[in-house]
């Protein structure tokens, strides 16, 4: 049973600190100290996968060589997610601050922000903020340069190795792993790649300390998180909440009174039906999310929801590996055929097995996560798939 109640937090967007002071102080701290703070904080990646941020930084800092990179993943493409846009437009300097601190720790002189093409309109303001930031860095005497690279409409480029490929001017096709980015990332050099939000939290941990951050959240999910809330809710928007609350509390706060299901984590995430709200914790011990929370009330057809998702994946798969490329097409055709009656309801079981194969055989997280929404929607709303 979840023991945390829903609690709003104000860390990310807080204006109580000048980024300059935090930056100056952080840059004075020893690398070991910063690393220890990040490790102790328990911060895990806020993009969705949840890899411990401190470990990423540590591994990269241990790699030999002086050509290393910090990459900020601002290719926010998960349906239902819009927090990074908000963070970048409201507190860009904190994002840059997180990158600079990371650069200091791992020994990188260049940082890159890979910004999705859909957010082109942010670029001019970001560049203005960057000028200011670079000036502050100059004052502090820390040699670090941040560059902005644009995406051009490809969801898969949010996958870290695909993002590197894209940065290198290629098709955004995920690479084989290992090697991982900490060893061979951008330009095959050791690279830390963090989500926008993760970088801001890292920066804030330098300010408030690991202890204070740790006080928030649960054992598996320390701290707070920015949620993008949309769908059937009267108060859609961006909210920073402590991790570890139950979905029931969440729905109570944000639902419209008739919530039948919540899609946690976007199209790549899980669909939780009403009957499981109570026992579902939002966090790594329960259902993790990169921030996307889509609420559906009883007027919605879950078949339409699922079809929208599989169409999305069918189009946004990079297409290189068989299970993802063909699997997505089969899932879409399959649910259509069942709905039309061309295939019997039993065919859903075949599709469920296929989804499981996609999960275990796909080359990257995209193909592996299609099964999340597919299986959870088909399992929980089977009759909607058939009739």
């Amino acid at each position: 049973m979840p023991d945390k109640k829903l609690k709003r937090v104000d860390l990310i967007f807080s204006e109580d600190c000048g980024y300059k002071d935090v930056l100056a102080e952080s840059l004075k701290m020893s690398n070991e100290k910063i690393l220890q703070e990040i490790l102790d904080s328990g911060l895990r990646g806020r993009g969705g996968a949840g890899f411990p941020t401190g470990l990423k930084w540590k591994f990269t800092s241990q790699e030999p060589g002086d050509e290393k990179y910090v990459v900020c993943n601002a290719d926010e493409g998960e349906p239902g997610t819009f927090k990074d846009r908000e963070i970048l437009s409201r507190v860009p300097l904190k994002v840059f601050g997180g990158m600079a601190v990371c650069g200091k720790v791992i020994g990188a002189k260049h940082g890159y922000i890979y910004l999705r093409g859909e957010y082109q309109f942010l670029k001019a303001d970001l560049e203005k903020a960057l000028d200011e930031f670079h000036a502050s860095l100059k004052e502090s005497g820390f040699d670090f340069q941040i560059h902005i690279l644009m995406g051009s409409g490809a969801y898969i480029c949010g996958e870290e190795s695909a993002l590197f490929e894209s940065m290198e001017g290629k098709r955004g096709e995920p690479r084989n792993k290992p090697p991982y980015p900490t060893i061979a990332g951008f330009r095959s050099k050791p690279t830390v790649i963090n989500n926008v939000e993760t970088l801001v939290y890292s920066f804030m941990i330098c300010r408030i300390g690991a202890k204070k951050f740790q006080e928030l959240g649960t054992a598996d999910s320390r701290g707070s998180k920015v949620f993008s809330i949309s769908g059937d809710t009267p108060i859609a928007g961006i909210y920073e909440l402590e991790l570890g609350m139950s979905l029931e509390d969440f729905v109570e706060e944000f639902g419209d009174g008739d919530t039948k299901a919540v899609q946690v984590g976007g199209a790549a995430g899980f669909c939780v039906p009403r009957k499981k709200f109570k026992d579902t914790i939002i966090g790594f011990e329960g259902v993790p999310t990169g921030g996307s929370m889509m609420l559906f009330n009883s007027s919605r057809s879950m078949y339409n929801v699922l079809k929208n998702y599989v169409e999305f994946f069918e189009e946004e798969s990079c297409g290189q590996c068989t299970p993802c490329r063909v699997g997505c097409q089969q899932l879409k055709k399959g649910i259509e055929a069942v709905k039309k009656g061309d295939k019997s309801a039993h065919y859903l079981e075949t599709l469920q097995k296929l989804a499981e194969t996609m999960k275990v055989t796909s080359k990257c997280g995209l193909g592996q996560s299609v099964a999340n929404s597919f299986s959870s929607i088909v399992d929980n709303f089977k009759e909607e798939m058939i009739y």
Binding site: D84, G169, R171, G172, N308
Partner: protein
């Protein structure tokens, strides 16, 4: 043709002539031309001394790097579920009626191309659309008519 040559050369001068320069160059062509013609790609291949098939393969990977002729204003309506729930279909219909084209088509005067796209990141303010790089949110039929009317008149 000479203009394309000049454009590509200028972009290569600005962004460099390595493989890493490819996306910025292609993006630069898009912001000038709204699409990347075969002539433009041939020039890019020449400037970067790389295979044209690889330029084509890279361009076609990215939804925003159109390789088919597009209008001066490319409208991309978000088709993700939350926008869909908030009335995206009606918005598309309104646009189709206003522009007298179907999704995927360009107006006869080459001014507008109407497309659908995946999540634009405005789920709390759906339905949303981009016109070139500009985002428009919380669209209604009236709002869309106004926006398009403005583009027709003033741009």
């Amino acid at each position: 043709m000479p203009e394309i040559k000049e454009l590509v050369k200028g972009l290569a001068d600005k962004h460099g002539r390595t493989r890493e320069s490819l996306l910025p160059i292609l993006q630069g062509i898009i912001s000038e031309e709204r699409f990347i013609s075969d002539a433009a790609m041939t020039e890019v291949a020449r400037e970067l001394d790389m295979s044209a098939a690889l330029v084509y393969g890279t361009a076609t990977f990215y939804s925003f790097l159109d390789t088919k002729p597009r209008g001066k204003y490319v409208i991309r309506v978000c088709r993700t579920i939350t926008c869909d729930m908030k009335g995206k279909k009606q918005i598309v219909k309104t646009l189709e009626d206003l522009l007298k084209v179907n999704v995927g088509e360009t107006t006869k005067d080459n001014k507008f191309t109407l497309l659908e796209t995946n999540c634009l990141g405005w789920c709390h303010k759906g339905p949303a659309m981009l016109i070139n790089d500009e985002a428009y949110t919380e669209l209604t039929e009236e709002k869309v008519s106004e926006i398009i009317g403005d583009y027709m008149k003033n741009k």
